[in-house]
């Protein structure tokens, strides 16, 4: 591992580790509220519109959504393996686990894109081709929310994939200076996973029993 120099404000390596972890969690708390407001909006819609909203949610692709959730959960396990092997001082193993993480992240985006394409074909995309004569106005509200929520989540994932690939290149060429970069990017990746864990039941599981 490349030798790293701590900033003068840190007395020990542990203090540095604690400080940067706290900083990352402060950022993640703002992300909780960012995505949380979307989830609060969904709960309002669900209580206001009830069965009309549930009927609209039934048009989402549950097989693709469930497969995508499994892909993202697996990517998080790979990320945890990358952090573990990196903390143990490895170089080759973390790079391979990071590449697996990024590949699974890309797979998620491809599946998500396929869903968007199918929804476009079914005239479910508000502002582009939403078919009000087939689906209700409440359905359009649901799909506006759906594209905002999943689009913002996919954007976060694309940023994560970029960071993971950057990290893999840095570790692979032994040019990584921060001793905490892998753990911090790992925290971000797992957080994006947590967001999806909550989006999944709200989007795909509503109205499947009727």
């Amino acid at each position: 591992m490349a030798e790293t120099i701590l900033g003068i404000q840190y007395a020990t390596r542990e203090q540095h580790r604690e400080a940067v972890t706290l900083g990352m969690w402060a950022f993640l708390a703002t992300e909780v509220l960012f995505f949380g407001s979307l989830i609060a909006a969904y709960l309002n819609y669900r209580i206001w519109f009830g069965n009309e909203l549930i009927a609209a949610a039934r048009h989402t692709k549950i097989v693709l959504g469930t497969a995508n959730t499994a892909i993202l959960l697996t990517s998080s396990a790979c990320m945890a393996m990358a952090v573990m092997t990196r903390e143990a001082g490895g170089r080759r193993a973390p790079v391979l686990w990071l590449l697996a993480t990024a590949a699974l992240g890309l797979a998620f985006v491809v599946v998500k894109g396929t869903e968007y394409f199918l929804e476009y074909q079914e005239h479910l995309v508000p502002a582009l081709n939403f078919d009000l004569s087939h689906y209700s106005g409440t359905g359009e509200i649901f799909f506006v929310w759906y594209f905002c929520a999943t689009g913002l989540h996919a954007l976060h994932l694309l940023i994560g994939i970029g960071m993971v690939l950057w990290l893999a290149m840095r570790i692979g060429s032994d040019r990584l200076e921060s001793p905490s970069a892998t753990r911090l990017i790992g925290l971000y990746w797992h957080f994006v996973d947590v967001v999806w864990i909550f989006l999944f039941p709200l989007i795909y599981l509503a109205g499947r029993n009727g």
Binding site: A29, A40, N44, A70, A77
Partner: protein
């Protein structure tokens, strides 16, 4: 953190995913949403505690991690205390006719 813990967590997450998807097809009436959210919360806790290492973190880090979710609960509860109890008729938005 060991590889054994990581893959045990992964297995638990996949089993919970299977369970929540299966339960979604069971008619539970208004209970479906709370059950789905409870299983989702369990999955999120596994990720937070083990993958995000809150188990091995100091109290300061845990407090910072919990703060975001705590404020989110305040936001949802106060929003809901208004909107979820309105009894006035909502405006008709269906424009199909």
């Amino acid at each position: 953190m060991t590889a054994r813990i990581i893959w045990t967590c992964w297995l638990a997450l996949i089993l919970l995913l299977s369970a929540t998807t299966a339960i979604a097809f069971v008619p539970l009436g208004s209970l479906n949403l709370p059950v789905a959210l409870a299983i989702g919360t369990s999955k999120a806790l596994i990720v937070l505690i083990f993958f995000m290492e809150l188990k091995a973190s100091s109290g300061l880090i845990r407090a910072a991690a919990g703060a975001g979710f705590f404020w989110l609960l305040i936001m949802v509860a106060l929003t809901g205390s208004d909107y979820w109890h309105r009894t006035d008729q909502r405006t008709q938005i269906d424009t199909t006719s």
